[in-house]
Symmetry: C2
Subunit: 262 residues, 2 copies
Amino acid sequence: MELALNTATVKRQWNLAQAIEGCARHGIRGIDPWRDQVADLGLKKAVSLIRRHGLTVTGLCRGGFFTAPNWRDENLRAVEEAHELGAQCLVLVVGGLVPGSKDLFASRERVKEGIAAVLPEAIKAGVPLAIEPLHPMLAADRACINTLEQALDLCDLLGEGVGVAVDVYHVWWDPKLEQQIKRAGKRILAYHVCDWLVPTRDLLNDRGMMGDGVIDLPLIRSWVEAAGYAGFQEVEIFSELDWWRRDPDEVLRTCKERVSQI
Amino acid sequence: MELALNTATVKRQWNLAQAIEGCARHGIRGIDPWRDQVADLGLKKAVSLIRRHGLTVTGLCRGGFFTAPNWRDENLRAVEEAHELGAQCLVLVVGGLVPGSKDLFASRERVKEGIAAVLPEAIKAGVPLAIEPLHPMLAADRACINTLEQALDLCDLLGEGVGVAVDVYHVWWDPKLEQQIKRAGKRILAYHVCDWLVPTRDLLNDRGMMGDGVIDLPLIRSWVEAAGYAGFQEVEIFSELDWWRRDPDEVLRTCKERVSQI
């Protein structure tokens, strides 16, 4: 699998232009930018700079948050941007509980309806939607889709145009992971890697560099490949206390080194 | 459901004797002590003080950690203590990854074998073993059994003498929770309550008081009751930043008040 950089990995150090040039400099041929960074640079400039360097856009982060009031406009805009960028998918972080509610069922229904509402435009734009199940510790405030099984059940209901983003950080613990990756098959639209640190000091921003934690990355990678996924493996590390404080060129060098070992 | 106190809720403020007396003073008729506190007080004294106050011992915390070297002796001792205390179950926190390993499968096999090895003694002693699925964020270092479905699959394999402890904190997010509570039926040996705070500032010790978080406690309770559980609801709150800093009598009053509302 070729390496891609999710720009969140160096977001404290670099803006999008710097991240694109960093990828080019380090021979990293895939990139997954975040929408706020695209907006800061300007969509047209982002498209042109990414093309100039011949990078594959492995995804756009992110659509989703269907439990927020402005979900429809935001997601239609995200689809449009993903189309302009030629992104291989739009990653959906679906949103947690409806604010003020404790009703997980209602939130999950809202997510289903939200994706269904956006899907026709996504299909028209040629942008596959990648539902990313997030770790259960993020169920309340980030995403109420928390297992690959649940995400695939939703894909089954929604039909063509929808798949999953498998991020090892969110799913590594799941006793049904092998089974569900097999079930996912060609619906795996993106594969994200990092590592689970012990101890983990923060629920959001304490992810580890591949090899520094406890995730059996070669094993999960073998399942993903056996399922027929032939895309990039994309490094996405949120790390307030470590990698966001380092020289970003060192971060990219380390990503390349570590990925070559898994 | 009657209220029980898991003594971890006031462990910074009170030793076991104080917790027993606190329960009696507040009219709380169930208690689940931790083994280190029982050891500090002395097993015989603990038994006699609990009997004197007529408390039901809803469980003993905890056995498990089958991935640690001394698992057999520790668990046999725990069974013996649970028997002496007349505990309704021995709660098993099964242990995470085998130290130094990334092999979740091997760890889960070790857990299965460990429980199977201890089970005959537990049955002889009349002590049901309650497998507690722990939140996936604790998979690496505390328990590699992380969903109720997985715990029940294990119960199915192990047969008589084994059930589950359902703690809302660990399972509230699970899309299959209703289904699996129904499946569990009479195998629910303990029911623990607290709440999930948003934001959660620590993976271990930032649990909320019932009502302060996002868990739909009346809903989960209704499922547990429908499954045939007729035991106590036991409050277990680890709270470094809040409840462990408060007057323990205030903590117990608050537990009573809040439980009456869910």
